[in-house]
Amino acid sequence: MKPSRLFPMPIHSILLFAVWLLLNNTLAPGHILLGGFLAIAIPRLVAGLSTEQPSVKKPGLALRYCLLVLWDILTANFEVAVKVAGPMKKIRPGMVAVPLDIKSELGITLFASTISLTPGTVSAEISEDKRWLYVHALDVENEHALIQEVKQRYEAPLKEILGC
């Protein structure tokens, strides 16, 4: 999946095509044609306005990663809900600094987003040298455990997927 003249942003093209069908709730041939056209035309229009194109090295892993995140969102949500509804004195919030191995801006963004999306942690800041991610957690038992968990669970697969 490399950018080409016809598909300057291939991932986007696929995404757009899917979204078009989603939007129209349909698989009608007319819409497939129109969606295909838009999926090609729009990226060509905005190609100039994009810097780094994601190149997914391992699509299968990416899909697994997505499911993993969704599952984590689901489970963690309940935990957080209980904490929010429970007594406030019990929560032990805190800020931790996660060292970053992943280098690409897109990778960091995806990593930080994942952390934010899974309940209980929020990516607060990224150091200027892009080597540290500051994460605020709602309930920290052990900073190092937390750091290790997010790095293993999310950063490692992301690195693999993006190949960086």
Partner: protein
Amino acid sequence: MNNLIWIPLLPLLGTLVPLFASRFSRSACAFLTAGLPALALILVLQNASSIFDGEALYTVYNWIPVIGLELAFRLDGLSLLFALLILGIGLLVILYARYYLSAQDSIGRFYSYLILFMFAMLGVVMSDNLLQMWMFWELTSISSFLLISFWGHKTEARKGARMALTITGAGGLALLAGILLIGEVVGSYNLYEVLNSGDVIRDHVLYPVILVLVLAGAFTKSAQFPFHFWLPHAMAAPTPVSSYLHSATMVKAGIFLMARLYPVLSGTELWFLIVSLTGLATLLLGAYVALFKHDLKGLLAYSTVSHLGLITLLLGMGTELAAVAAIFHIINHATFKASLFMAAGIIDHESGSRDMRQLNGLWKYMPHTATLAMVAASSMAGIPLLNGFLSKEMFFAETLHQDSLGSLSWMVPVLATLGGVFSVAYSTRFIHDVFFNGEPINLPKTPHEPPRYMKVPVEILVALCLLVGIFPSLVIGDLLYAASGAALNGIPPEYSLAIWHGFNLPLLMSFLALAGGLTVYYNRKELFQFQAQFPDNDPKLVFEAVVQLIQRQAETFMQLVENGSLQRYAYMMLSMSFAMMAGPLLDLNATAGLRPELPVDAISVTGVILLTLGAVATVVWHRERMKALVSLSIVGLIVSLMFAKFSAPDLALTQLSVEVVTVILLMLALFFLPQQTPKESSPRRVVRDLGLSAMIGGVIGTICYALMTRPLDSISTFFVENSKTGGGGTNVVNVILVDFRGFDTLGEITVLGIAALGIFKLIARMRLYMPASDENGRPWTLDSHPMMLAIVSQSLLPLALLVSAYIFLRGHNMPGGGFIAGLITAVAIIQQYIAHGVDWVKPRMKVDYQVLIGSGIFIATLTGLGSWLFDRPFLTSWFDYFSLPLIGKFELASAMMFDLGVYLTVIGATMLILANLGKLTTSERPVVSETD
């Protein structure tokens, strides 16, 4: 058809001659200038014989019938008399002025004004329509203004001219009112009909008003007391002007008017009282003051005032003979006064002074001129064998033959004689003090005789004085008879124009005046000392003080009313709106109508609470602007939700998208405007404003409620019924926008485009205040484009564009459309600016937003024009359904094209605004030091 029209027309053309002729020599210019008036004079003389036969000539053209204005001229005795004076003396003045004006003076301009005045004056006397007469009447004021202010660099000239214009202008306006009333009473402005409606007018309830208004016009023009004061100050004009306007013509216009309307307005008690008393007062005042004027022209001016008073008095007496005497004196006064002014001008010209305290013994230096002046002055004094004597005798006689003042009627001849005394005295002074009485004192020049031809006009006029004085009926008999007949609108009474009527009372009065005058002049030292005791309360100063007072008061008033406070203006406007709304509502018996109301639900209540608190918070926090902005956003959100709730999805979408752009704009404002508002409204003002806004809010709410609870029978069902069949779309709102009322939309996008252009103008060359720190003094962070925001915004752009394409394409049938799609696109692009900054976006997006606006409007308009090809009105829509293999049935509609225009304009406009603003801020950003 007669040639009457040419008599005024020739001078009108003549105004242009001097402008071209001024390039030649002065004599040539004068000669050429005189040509057309001379021709006019010949025309007048040509017609004279038929007038003397008792005929009157008329000519009339339609002009503006709606107001009763026609181009109507008449030549009867009265107008003949005046036309001769105007043209004859006018020609003499042209000759005189050739020598009078110096080389620096623009003779072309002078002649042009002079002939213009001649034209105006001829118009006045020859008008056969009152409105037309008024027109020329005002034109005399204007041209005399130009003449008096000919030496505009002198303060005196400017002020004198302005005063004359103001007084005569005011009189002119009164006259207009009077004429309009006459027209209303008579039903016509035609002089013939007016003159024959004397009884109708005199019996009308408006007669006193008409009389006062017309006389106000006449008195101001003829310098009657108490409006006399402008005339002496008009002496700032070059002397030819004075000898023309202020002796022979313009000041006689008022007299002419009274004579003209004599058959209509005179003959009542009111006429007599006003006119004769005014005339008497003017006569005495003018004669008395004239004696004390050291300025030669001042003396002549007041003498003119006095003589005008005399004529007015005559007209006021109401007897036919008095009217004849008045007309006779008009002629005589014109001749001797014009020559006197010319003589005074010669003296001034050759000696450099008009002050009688300097001018002495000029007889030795200019005997010829002195002779002429002395003859004319004698006529003015009423010496026998001169024309002045004849009319003065008639005047004295008439004063004896009236009894309108009842038992006090004897006072009139006595006072008239007294006037005669002073008249003789100042005439004597004019002769003695100037030509004799020792040697000149400190004159700027050594006096000598003027150029030969400069004296010619004076000689002619003085000769006339003599001729009329000696052979009155031969020289002037026919003219006087015709003129009197015209003035009286009938046959003049019996009178005799003889030098000698035997020893009678008038002769005695003349002798008394002569003797008395000489005595007064002999004892002038005592009299001057006596007069010196009184403060010199010049009416001119009073006039100027009044004008200045009015001006100052006006300025104060305007500063008070228009104090430049928007808050006041807005308050007034809103108060007025409240009054306009609340007034009728008081009559509304029941607020609620008969339409059933919708039930209230919990969501709505929540919405109302949110909206209320949001709005109130915005108001309460309006001084902390960031907070106000956040709470304003809630209001916007709830309003959108309300639209959604009440079945207006399109509105909800539009409101939402507009909302975001508005918030972005407001944030820009927040950055460049102070972030906090000082507390400067006084509690009183706050309460006042709160009161007004609460009342208006209450009224609007009431109206809204009253409207909603009443049934409505509207044209809307048509739109629902025809949306699909006629407009080809199921989203009725969109079909209205692009089809039924597409013209509104065209206007709307034009507004948007114009706003963008205007904002671009505003931004250009704007020097912004850019705070280097926020309201708490905290410097801005250095992380200008946070990474996550940048990366995510980038990938959102294509998604947003896709959504906007979706919204655009479905608009015709489902909620959406070009406008919303355009805003989504614009917002998506703005997001790129927010996330990456101008410097990053600019090289990557080479779109000329101005072209986008232009082509958007152009496409929408062209779509509308397309219907012309099918011979349909602008914006007639077209749509059809097509079917293609694979794709199936789809619709194509011209409305889509129109919507595309909308789409492009919206993007262009929004981006032109925001991108340029961003560009500006970036280029002007001060370099922030990193020390903080």
